[in-house]
Structures are given as C-alpha cells and as structure tokens.
Symmetry: C2
Subunit: 293 residues, 2 copies
C-alpha cells in the first residue's frame, strides 16, 4: 500500500488549514469540506478520510480508489466524475487534459480536465511570455486586455502570450502554438523567445486551490510587429513603456495577478528594480518563495 | 533584555548542528566549539551559553556583552578581539570593515573586519558581474584566472569583476569601483551594468561559517574592450563562448564556487538552460534556495 500513498489527490484539507492558519470553522476549510461532499457519491472512485478531523487510512487526504490501477482507468473514472459534476460545480470545462504528476516531468498518474485541476489541488504548469520592443533604447512591453466575456479574469490586463501546458507538448512548442493563436506571431519570430526561468504561486479561491508553475519567456519583437489575436479571447493590445507597466503593477490591481509576478521577475532581470531600493531582497525573496517543482 | 536578543552573534552552534544533522561529536560542531574557546579570554566582550549543550541566557548563541551599548563600542571591542586573535586564528585580515546587520539595509549593530565575518557567522554581501560580449550573435563571457598567490581560492577561475560590499557604499558605486580596479573598465562603460537579481549560499569550512548574498549584474561589453587588472589579483583574462563556460561548470570544479552559482543564474536568464532539460525546475529551485535577506 505504500506506493499508493503517492496517488493521494492532495485535496487540501490539511493544506488549507496550514496555509490559512484556519480552524475547522474557517471559511476556506469549510468550503473545501463542502466540495468533498460532492465527491461522496463516487465511492468507487475515491477513498475518504474515515473521520473528517482525524484523517483516514491515507492521512487527511482524499485518495483515488486502489482498484483504479492504470493511468487510463484513473483518467476515465475521474473524467466521469467531472462530467457528472458538470458546469454547475466546475465551471469553464474546456475538454483539455492536464497531466497529473508529483512534479514536472515525473511519471503521469492520470490526466484531468484542465478546469478541474484546482478543485482537486492538482498542480498545473503554463507558459507566460513578456513580448517587448526597444524604441530609442527604451523597452516597451506589449500588454493585452482580456475580453470582457472571458470566463476567468474578464477585462483584466494580460501578457501578450500565455497559456496552460497541456498533456504531451513541451514548453517551447506550446509557446509557439500560443504565440500564433493569441497574438498572430509567426513561428519564424516565436522560436527566438528565450526561456528565462519560472515562478510559482498558490491561491485558494472558493473551491479552487490553485498551485501553478509558470515557465517565463522573453521575446524581443521587431518594432514593426503588430499583434493580432486569432482566438477572440483578447479585446485589444497596447505597447506600453516598461516603466509605466511597473507603475500600473505598483499602484493598481488591473493585471491578472499571475502576470504581475512574471512581470516583476522581468523588472528584476532587466534592471528596473535595483538593489538601492529599500526592500529589494525582500521582494526578490517573496517572488521566489513559491514551490517551483 | 528582549532587544538585546537581536544582538546575538549567531555563532553557529545550533546552526552547525541543524544544517549538518550533526551530533556533538560531529566535526563541524566540534571545530565551532573550538573557535568559541578562543573567545573565552574576552569575557568583557562576549556572553557565553552557560552549558555548551543546553544553551544559556541567550539560547545556544554566543552574544555580545550587554555593557557594549553603542555600535562604536561594539566595533571597537570586537575589533580588539580580532586584532588579538590575529593572522593565526583569522588569516587574511584586510582592514576592511563590514557592517553587521540582521538583513540588508537594516540598522547596523556594529562593523567587523571583513575576514572575521565568517568566523562569527555574520552575513556578508557582495557584487558579482557577468561581463560578456556578443560576437556574431553568440555570447562570450570574460573569465578571469585568480593569481596563484591570492590567499583565497588561488588559481581558480573567476568572474571578470566581483567584490565584497564594504560599509557605506551602495551596490552600484561599489561595482563601478571594482570594475575600475579589477578589470580597468571605465565608469562610462560600467554605469551600464544591469542589476539582475541576487543569489545566496552558505558554506561551513573549518572555523568559517559563510553566509553570503551576492548581488548579480550583467554588463554587455564592446567587442573592442580588453580587460586589464589593476590590483594584481588576477593572473589573466580570457573570452570564452558561454556554451563552453557552461560545460566547464558542468564537468569541472575550476570555477570559484560562488561564481558557478552566479553563472548558472546567467545561464537560466539567457536561455542556455531550457525547460526541456530534465531537472530544469530542480536546478532553478536549488539555485534560489539560499537565504537572500
């Protein structure tokens, strides 16, 4: 049974407590318990802690049923649950499968509908690209405004290109695909995007426990380039001096939060934040505190 | 007495144990205790744990004597101890004072001879600069070879420019000064160096417990530039393709270890290490695990 422990779904009963210093009456803890209640109808798919407060055979976690022996069996069984829960419980289902692993590149336990990942506390990976232009020695960043009808973060400011990393495609190929779809950047230009590191964050929002790792890229674009959204998810693009982008992040919450992290990383790497600023190391440390695994 | 707790010298009795999972018979632990013995002659400067194993009034740490009330008094008293211990116990004394703080930019408790900092487990800050040139679109890095007569790391490979951050000078000014002294780079060029972040590491070596934070810089140099060492501490300089520098770090221990960390950070930021490499996030995470405070 030891190996099965690795298949814990990590539904964050314990983590919600740990991260929010919550008691069982805490809001986050309570709503996680509420989501678990939705899963109790599927006793052939999940194993539950025997006692909500004291854990079960696999600790405080909801686990996959041991009869589900192969990745395909698990994918199919959990897929059935997600389908049954439907839009009401898991809005934004996209029929896009994410691999479930213990860390990036590790063996895949099963695959899961992208929109469902945060409901199960599953880590998700993505790519974010800073697209910039140099005009008279000053860097300007292309910023997108998300469509007002987009399900998530409608109307907020966004990167020129960003997207989740689906099953079976590597980071660079995924970035090239997203460059084409989201900004009309041809492969001849997007292959020049430079991988520059990664950031990670977690966010508990309603039933969703997001644990995301974003691979960061920089692409210096030709001055003549004009982005053109081809999937209808972006309202407009604007080229903004990086110093102004920094001010927007400092003073407002207009940017989609994970974009702010990736852009702050850009500001560090390109010398817009300098050691002479009070709190330089504090900000850098907090930027890197996430679990990049 | 609460405020005095902040003046603990952090002599790493406890930390040596924690980091090396040592027992009191462990080598590191034993030598730290040996260094403490050298301080026992100075009972008007230090307060010691009452019992070596069970801690004293200020926990397991050696503390400064509470009668030393001002920064100047502490600087003078500890300076006297360092002078008395001399080259035999603390080799490489340079008459260069380092500020002792709880974190970068925090109020200064006192100042301490640079060479003595690691003997007291005091954090030290420095600057490291990647000096590079682009030839036909390929980046090449200037690498120095340390003089064979240098006290520390003789003959090892080094950055074009690096140096400790003394009391009373900010990072950029210090870098400009080091650029001039170590590589003959005029201010007109060195002001263009870009701060790109920081790395940190710790190292227990004999009596020394190094806790260093290095502010990292990139400087793109003109192709025509030839470095010229002006302080006699560098044997020679060589311009090496970055891909070859990466191979040297991967396969040898020729580089001074902290340079390897700063260069690995460079390799990440400039896309020489890509997410497609197995272990990408592991290496990135380990690079950032140090205490940048």
């Amino acid at each position: 049974m030891m190996s099965f422990a690795y298949l814990n779904l990590n539904l964050p009963l314990k983590t919600a407590l740990a991260t929010s210093k919550a008691s069982p009456t805490n809001f986050n803890y309570a709503i996680v318990l509420l989501f678990v209640e939705h899963l109790r109808d599927f006793g052939d798919v999940f194993v539950f802690p025997i006692d909500k407060n004291n854990g079960g055979p696999y600790g405080d976690f909801v686990s996959l049923h041991p009869t589900l022996k192969t990745a395909d069996e698990r994918t199919s069984a959990v897929g059935y649950v997600v389908e049954r829960l439907g839009e009401e419980q898991i809005p934004g289902i996209r029929d896009e499968l994410y691999p479930v692993t213990s860390s990036f590149g590790a063996p895949i336990f099963f695959s899961l509908e992208r929109a469902a990942a945060p409901y199960f506390g599953i880590k998700a990976y993505g790519v974010h690209m800073n697209g910039y232009v140099e005009v008279d020695g000053q860097k300007h960043m292309w910023v997108g405004k998300r469509s007002d009808t987009k399900q998530t973060y409608p109307g907020m400011l966004d990167h020129l290109v960003a997207g989740g990393l689906p099953h079976g495609i590597d980071c660079q190929e995924n970035l090239i695909k997203e460059c084409e779809e989201e900004a009309g950047i041809p492969r001849s230009i997007s292959v020049k995007a430079i991988p520059v590191g990664a950031i990670s964050y977690m966010d508990i929002d309603g039933y969703r426990y997001k644990r995301d790792v974003e691979f960061c890229y920089d692409l210096k674009l030709p001055k003549s380039f004009l982005p053109k959204n081809e999937d209808g998810e972006v309202d407009s693009f604007k080229l903004i001096p990086v110093t102004q982008v920094a001010e927007v992040i400092r003073k407002t919450e207009f940017f989609k939060p994970n974009c702010s992290l990736v852009i702050i990383d850009f500001l560090f790497r390109h010398g817009y934040i300098t050691p002479e600023y009070l709190g330089y190391l504090d900000l850098l440390r907090n930027l890197r505190i996430g679990d990049c695994s």
